[in-house]
Symmetry: C2
Subunit: 343 residues, 2 copies
Amino acid sequence: MGRKTTKSGKIRLTEVAKLAGVSPITASRFFRNPEALSLSKRERVDSAVKELGYVPNLAARALASHRTEVIGVVIPSLTNNVFADVLRGIYDSSEGSRYSIQLANTRYSILQEEKLLQLFRAQKPAGLIVTGINQTAESRAILESMNCPVTQIMEIGDAPVDMMVGFSHYDASFAAISHILAQGRRRIGFLGARMDPRVQRRLDGYRDAMKAASMFDASLIVTTSVPTTVTLGGTLFADLLAQAPDIDAVFCVNDDLALGVLFECQRRQLSVPRDVAIVGFNDLEFMASAVPSLTSVRTNRYEMGRHAVTMVIDAIEGRRPQEPVLDLGFQLMVRESSVPPNT
Amino acid sequence: MGRKTTKSGKIRLTEVAKLAGVSPITASRFFRNPEALSLSKRERVDSAVKELGYVPNLAARALASHRTEVIGVVIPSLTNNVFADVLRGIYDSSEGSRYSIQLANTRYSILQEEKLLQLFRAQKPAGLIVTGINQTAESRAILESMNCPVTQIMEIGDAPVDMMVGFSHYDASFAAISHILAQGRRRIGFLGARMDPRVQRRLDGYRDAMKAASMFDASLIVTTSVPTTVTLGGTLFADLLAQAPDIDAVFCVNDDLALGVLFECQRRQLSVPRDVAIVGFNDLEFMASAVPSLTSVRTNRYEMGRHAVTMVIDAIEGRRPQEPVLDLGFQLMVRESSVPPNT
DNA sequence: ACAATTATTGACAGCGCTACCATCGGATTG
DNA sequence: CAATCCGATGGTAGCGCTGTCAATAATTGT
């Protein structure tokens, strides 16, 4: 009579309920709201589940409950190291919870984002994490109509769809430029690639900081919509030198560009930081180990992912945060590339 | 009477069928096997779907059909650039298909992998992509019992669970070492971190190439189980120099380590390649742009992702490949860091 | 021209679970 | 002590779709 088979046969909730001597609905509640069961039944169901090796059928659950346990994540890039860290935070935080992550990649296209959100809407996710605050009106309408918690990540702003976790790219950039100015540099170039909204705000911070110091000059700015690479950093730097040969510092919107600039300086026998100071953005791991070590703005990417998931899950389960906008800030990591060579 | 509401109300397949004047099952077939419908009905259903803005309920579909349209992907790391490229290929190829990707991260733990595979088994995915060929016996048993196409990626071997796409890490490493030896270098150090199975095979290739040239010396090898970073490359190189001061070349199991070695050489005023040749692995983008440019082994990561998905989808739909093992090979990208300075 | 075959189509039942409400003791209250 | 309430439990009905198989229409061969 040993039909307590672990074989992936027909173990449904009904079987569990039978073994535990309760009704199926009680067994169902064991998973969704165990506190509602009396201790004795809870234990009986628990051991029945274990004995039978029961695994819930998620499709049936979703169909019957009109809900899923999926958190959708919309990011613009899979190759950008920045998002790799965010994703790691997201996956780390979602493990152990009942929710699973469904990833979607917009490739920096807001139209693609709109399509992906439509897809998500059809799936009725339990929660959603989207990148940035520059959705199209249509995307925003979808998000607002979704009837599930939404967290916008990577930056913060005034009008969250629901919740936000990020930092001010404008402030971070402003702080970086202020630091460079404080080192006595006057002709600070700006190098930007793949000018997404967050990079635009870094440019705004640069512009305002330069204007505040009466150092602004449009010919110090070189940008392109091309995706970032290290090689591109060198190219942009060459362009910058061509149009403003007297620069004494470069602010790069990300660390890959900064590394490219460093290599280009080596190629041109320019001394860093004597001839040119270099400051990057994101503080990827290699920045500390370059020669000279490179100054950068550290952002809390992993934590951003963790918080985003936690906020969404908490909101799904009714624990809404006091404050919907969470500012994770940034830190300027001052290194050799931006301070006087002989301090 | 204009109840052709686009409002996300109650548009089920039944409504579509009614509007199209067919039975629900015919409407259902429109999605799963449109060729089976007569042209007239196909068009009627098609326009009904569009008019009503019908979106299939995936949960109901999964419940009724005992299948999902999910392809599970098991990778060991989210931060490793190598997998970022593979993932990009996977997501790019899955877009436009009916299948969605479910990602899971083992963090290089084969026990974690086992757990994740158990989870996947419960969800009955349509297909599975797993990293490497070193699953536990238990994992392998799960994979074989899953009754869905499985593709192992990143490397190739003799006994595929089902299909494979990758390349020989042993051969790639052997080729790299042969190249360095051909440049007249004799004391070639080996730097390895996070010694996962694929890195181990690179070590095997190194060892055999060195032995074949009668140049093998265990004191030339420095490895650690710590995860790779650029900084670690410098540290390992320092260790190597300490235990074998006479080295004239370094082979690094990945490009991050190689970059770290380059920086460490700059710090120690060692000339590359005159004093030390450097060769990396993977050919990340920055290798070409470093000063000097760094030799590396190019691997077709993006293509690996693309092929893996294509193979799985084809197999799901009954188009099994002639040859279950696909070798994508590698290319040695010879650059300044490994050739004589004055050629 | 007629049986045999093949392409289309539909009826029925049910996938495994949970929403909704009903039930039923027992505790609380005036 | 009856009226009320509450926590714990169960019964009934589907959720929206598709597998199975039978029924019908179209096609073909001889």
